[in-house]
Symmetry: C2
Subunit: 368 residues, 2 copies
């Protein structure tokens, strides 16, 4: 039994538990999890159809047929449509063939409405649900192969830290740091998990700043958020440095965020929930008087997707479980001044505590 | 009246014609078209809500509130949710406030099912449609500002041709060519329209090959497909070269694709349809005996999205109209050997003929 067969068997258990008769998955993490294959189809439908009992099959435009036929899971039933014919008639045939309109159909959470609404039109009386209900618990608890891939992604990401720090210099642009990261990634044979965020000075006060042409200057606090994707799995860390010198305020804020980060890691323990981890980190920042400047949740699950379950957020009472992997990334964002966010990826061990996949975060604001 | 107000007025005409009471748009081209703003919200809902009569408003997570408030269209009604509360309760309030559940609601074609299905749950009896029906004719016929942006994107893309050719050399990897393009783009202050495709030798026989670690060798035919995004609008061209020398077959296939491309451009004329342009290009390749190796449509519309209406495909009887912008990109893909695809962007002039936005394609296979 291959890893893909095992995952399929577990997903089918999940389908049964959720009352789902069929999955229709468009390219993305769920397709990748079940087949090792995913390829952006853009406005053309590529779909994996998984009936709860019958064999799986792919639908693909002719453009991608060769790639789909080479899917690592070895799924041989590949049905091809061409641009002149369109996909609706082929899917209609499959619906009739396999009586997919009987029972609940679950579609990929990321499926664009252009497909989801048309699928609903082709099966007007069939209830549509989200496929994540059959995947979420499985995909959140990583198996051995997945943990190995996440460690590789973390290692490849850590290897970029000196590259990022070396590229930060007065007069250099944010974009030049991002390009240095891109180049190092390419030379190592990896892709980026996401567009790197390089945010200098007051740009750092926007958590999702777009890396741009801003030139860094002495004294700037620089937020560096990047990750390597290895074997399909995402790395994701955030480091902060100051150029040449740092203000007392910058050092103080860094220290608070560092302690919040450590408190979050320490809160990962047998019986703890996602909520507990969020609270532990948040409390340190609130106690220091910066609560209103911590604008987001403490972390997010990570795996085939950069953001997936479990969500490390207030109110999420999901108990943490062995194999869960997530970021811990508290931050303080001071409008018009600077931002500090510190992020590592952790996994929950069999004993319930955290194992940190990345290098230790420097306890004091690094000056570069 | 700003450009955004004018577009809104025209989109509202489109809504009326299509019987749509409300648009709910997630980040993407339609949001950008109406507001100048778009920002990936990933699993968090950022939405622009456009009732046919009431004022527009934004829904945003707190994380993106500052960015949303700075929207170029100056939309001041920005309603904020936070991670602990979630977005459903806020949207429910807005639905009640504005009685959005009365009448047909159109959602963004790219809206992920995770949002579209929940929106349907919040308004179970409200019919959901695709918003593109209100946008497509407008967005396909570019206005003056858009044509200017597309010309800038084409110019910035053309400027990369010598960079790509210079990076192609025996022993260099596909990835190194892609990185050279990325670097030149970054230095010019632009983003990529899409991940560049660099496909050497037999990799070129897959139209959407992933740029990888393959090393090029003398005699390889290399497909180079890339584009710069400028002012939000996409450039997209494909050029082909051979390293050091070229086989007779490569020269012959290049010549056929070149003639197919020219035939496609010439077919753009008053009264012509998208189908006619596809047929003209396809006929040249079929007549040369390579019909079965031309795997895709002849082209795609381009604008805020790299692929949008009009689709230049057999069966699309849409008459071409002034302001339409699209690619003409016939190709021949010989499995195990190589591929050739030649692509420029054209726009339809007031007289109905094509104006080519890019540099002329070399009539003979360039040797680099």
């Amino acid at each position: 039994m291959t890893a893909y067969d095992e995952r399929l068997a577990r997903v089918r258990d999940g389908m049964k538990a959720q009352g789902l008769a069929t999955l229709i998955l468009t390219p993305g993490a769920a397709m990748s999890y079940l087949t090792g294959f995913s390829e952006a189809g853009h406005e053309r439908l590529i779909a994996l159809i998984v009936p709860s009992t019958d064999a799986r099959l792919f639908i693909t435009p002719s453009l991608n047929a060769a790639q789909v036929r080479a899917n690592p899971a070895g799924i041989g039933d590949v049905r091809v449509w061409d641009d002149a014919q369109g996909w609706e008639s082929l899917l209609s045939e499959v619906i009739v063939d396999l009586t997919l309109d009987i029972g609940v159909v679950a579609v990929d959470d990321d499926m664009p409405a252009r497909f989801a609404l048309k699928i609903q039109q082709l099966m007007p009386t069939t209830p549509l649900r989200l496929a994540s209900s059959a995947f979420a618990p499985l995909r959140a608890a990583k198996d051995t192969l997945e943990l190995a891939a996440l460690q590789h992604a973390a290692d490849a990401t850590d290897a970029l830290i000196p590259v990022a720090f070396a590229a930060c210099a007065a007069g250099a642009t944010e974009m030049s740091v991002s390009l240095a990261l891109q180049k190092a990634l390419g030379e190592a044979g990896h892709e980026s998990s996401f567009d790197s965020i390089v945010a200098a000075g007051q740009n750092g006060s926007s958590p999702h700043h777009h890396t741009g042409k801003t030139k860094m200057k002495t004294g700037d606090v620089v937020v560096l958020d990047f990750g390597a994707r290895v074997e399909g799995y995402c790395g994701d860390i955030t480091r902060v440095c100051a150029l040449g010198k740092a203000s007392d305020e910058a050092r103080r804020v860094y220290d608070i965020v560092y302690r919040a980060h450590q408190a979050g890691v320490a809160a990962v323990d047998a019986g703890a929930t996602a909520h507990d981890v969020d609270s532990a980190a948040r409390r340190v920042i609130a106690d220091a008087g910066y609560g209103e400047f911590f604008l987001h949740r403490t972390g997010h699950g990570i795996g085939l997707e950069c953001h997936e379950a479990p969500n490390i957020v207030g109110g999420n009472r999901t108990p943490l479980q062995p194999g869960h992997c997530f970021s811990i990334e508290p931050g303080i964002y001071l409008p018009g001044k600077f931002g500090v966010r510190l992020e590592n990826i952790v996994t929950v061990t069999e004993s319930g505590s955290a194992r940190v996949l990345n290098q230790a975060i420097p306890p004091e604001l690094p000056i570069v």
